[in-house]
Symmetry: C2
Subunit: 401 residues, 2 copies
């Protein structure tokens, strides 16, 4: 047995709770308003690294650079510029930055880079190199780093957990993430940096990361677009006394799931202009694959997202969208509920004035569930989605300026 | 050779230009503001009928009723209520309406029904039956019918063409349509009623309708949702002297394409709150299937639609979305243009202050092209899309009320 304690929004939280990790965030002048836009995460020992990258075929330079790397102790991250669609210049700029870091700091091993922001513009590499030369690798300030990686995010995302075993041993896991737009079920679709001091083999860590990713980041959707830069990095310093093997890997997966589920929900809650976090609970699908298909179709439907924003319990759009998803379904077997309020049950429309008030009250909440039981089998999947309002249009109608 | 003359927005246009057809539209009290909400289309001879229906698995009662029918001379259409997700009651209500019509008007053969509007509410059948009993089948007023089938449409859609052959023979083809929201590339996704007086076998007419549908309605997208009620009906009275066979079927396909292309563009231009009609011209894809995939991904992308609304020539989002679509692509082979203004060419970002002004001017137009040449092969596809602005949110946040 083990005990899990949550620690968030402290300097010694996020990526810095785990033993051996350092981080900071600062302004390199990429954001015109002087906000933080450059961060690093450093470990004083070489770490095992597990990664998940975007499935976008126009993947950005940092993805090409990091793919295949399984050990590192340093990640530099910039916001405001994605270094995507920058071709060989993008790779050259990145390599120049990384090489200046290696020259400056002798302890770096395989330094990696992550970028997020505007597509198609070359990195302001001189500004980055200049500021990066001032990095103080002895600083532990995860909060600063979590702010520096934000783009259109309304708030920073930072979380960590301390896991205490019955024998007194302790290990830590935590991370920072950025999200907002371009959050899409096709892959992780954001930047997330997770550190742990558990001792774990790289291949085992990668396997667990892939599994947890499917149920967390891959279940989150803001607007259905998959970015060119999505990355999840999970680094292990192995500095704790806890060794993860087949006997206790479920404990590690559980802790990692807490970190990534927190992040995934925070990303959706912070979807550009979003006011509501909805968990689409699909039950009774033919199989889990069809359940996932329905969950993602619903969470991406513009008509459903705008009805959520209007707090309009328009179950007809849910039925329409389930039908449009192409899975096995039957209107006489379908049941639709908003939290505990059943609106449509196996062919019978229960909607009336009383139900409208009850469902309207559910929708006034910042978080609620929409459950669709298809009545076709045992398949199930949960997906996270948000509403779409005027603010999304405002943010995205002129993002570059 | 033949000459084609366009005729629109007259009583004797739309579905009434073809010989033998009658139509009218009136208020049955379904729309609280007293606007027209009930229409009929009648032919004084039994017609061959070709149809395309939604692929939505929750297809509405009128779809179940009409599927498989290949001859009719009457269609009654109501707006404001979709008769979808109404189960056996939906079928019963429809059958009661149709049977009252058959009793009242002895010349009807296989009368069909189409419905559009809110999902999940039973038809106000008594109001419909009452008003339908007053139909005057000798009226030729296509304009009235085109107005009665509107829901959130900002304008009616009505078009017809007179085709004059060199030998002096003439045939006509025309129709009415309604669209606005739930317009999606997965299928036709609106109601369209087309009449012709050309003599043509049902199977040949169905084959040509399927072909033309792929390039017109199926290429149009407003919000990526496929409705429960989408229907295209094409009726032939065979009252002209022109017989369509393999020697002249291209002429018929050409005329039908003019009708359906006009309708498809009108639907997108009238997408809820849309201010711009964009034709996505995909060139150089590996094959036509991949070109279509890209075209539909771009035309459905929220990030691209909002950038269009903001008149922001953000070509990076196009590149991102092409990459996300999963087709074969390579940033060093891709070229992106807005009308004739090239923004990105085979790995080189041409964007600068001058190009920004030129591209901005293109985007100020009500209609323009975005051309993406993938440089991977010979595949091509054109899709129609629109922007997404505040008005879409306003219309859809509380549609039911």
């Amino acid at each position: 047995m083990y005990k899990i304690e949550k620690i968030e929004n402290q300097k010694l939280s996020g990526v810095c709770l785990s033993e051996g990790f350092y981080a900071d965030g600062m302004s390199a002048g990429l954001k015109p308003n002087g906000d933080k836009d450059l961060a690093f995460i450093y470990s004083d020992v070489v770490c095992e690294l597990a990664s998940v990258f975007t499935t976008n075929k126009m993947a950005a330079a940092p993805i090409h650079h990091a793919k295949g790397v399984t050990q590192t102790n340093f990640i530099v991250i910039n916001s405001k510029n994605a270094n995507a669609m920058t071709g060989k210049y993008g790779i050259e700029d990145l390599e120049e930055i990384v090489s200046s870091l290696t020259q400056k700091f002798s302890t770096l091993h395989n330094p990696l880079m992550s970028s997020t922001g505007v597509i198609g513009v070359r990195l302001p590499k001189d500004k980055i190199i200049q500021k990066a030369s001032e990095f103080d690798l002895s600083v532990k300030n995860s909060l600063n780093a979590s702010h520096a990686i934000m783009t259109t995010d309304a708030f920073n995302k930072e979380i960590a957990f301390k896991i205490s075993l019955d024998n007194g041993d302790v290990f830590n896991i935590g991370g920072i993430a950025k999200g907002a737009g371009m959050i899409n079920p096709a892959m992780a679709t954001m930047l997330a940096f997770i550190t742990t001091d558990a001792k774990i083999e790289q291949s085992k860590m990668q396997e667990i990361l892939n599994d947890v990713n499917k149920m967390t980041f891959n279940a989150a959707s803001v607007d259905g677009d998959t970015s060119t830069n999505d990355t999840v990095f999970l680094m292990s310093s192995a500095k704790s006394n806890v060794t993860i093997d087949s006997s206790n890997e479920k404990m590690f997966a559980h802790a990692l799931n807490l970190v990534m589920d927190f992040m995934a929900k925070a990303l959706v809650r912070d979807g550009e202009g979003a006011t509501k976090l909805v968990t689409y609970k699909i039950r009774g699908a033919k199989d889990n694959i069809e359940a996932e298909k329905v969950a993602k179709t619903l969470s991406n439907s513009l008509l459903i997202k705008t009805a959520l924003y209007g707090e309009d319990p328009n179950w007809g759009r849910l039925a329409m969208s389930i039908g449009a998803s192409g899975v096995a379904c039957d209107e006489t077997k379908l049941t639709i509920s908003y939290d505990d309020v059943v609106l449509y049950e196996k062919g019978v429309n229960l909607f009336n004035d009383e139900i409208e008030v009850l469902a309207g009250n559910v929708m006034k909440q910042a978080e609620f569930d929409i459950t669709c039981d298809l009545g076709m089998g045992e398949g199930s999947f949960d997906a996270y989605g948000c509403d779409l309002g005027y603010k999304y249009v405002e943010i995205n109608a002129d993002y570059r300026t």
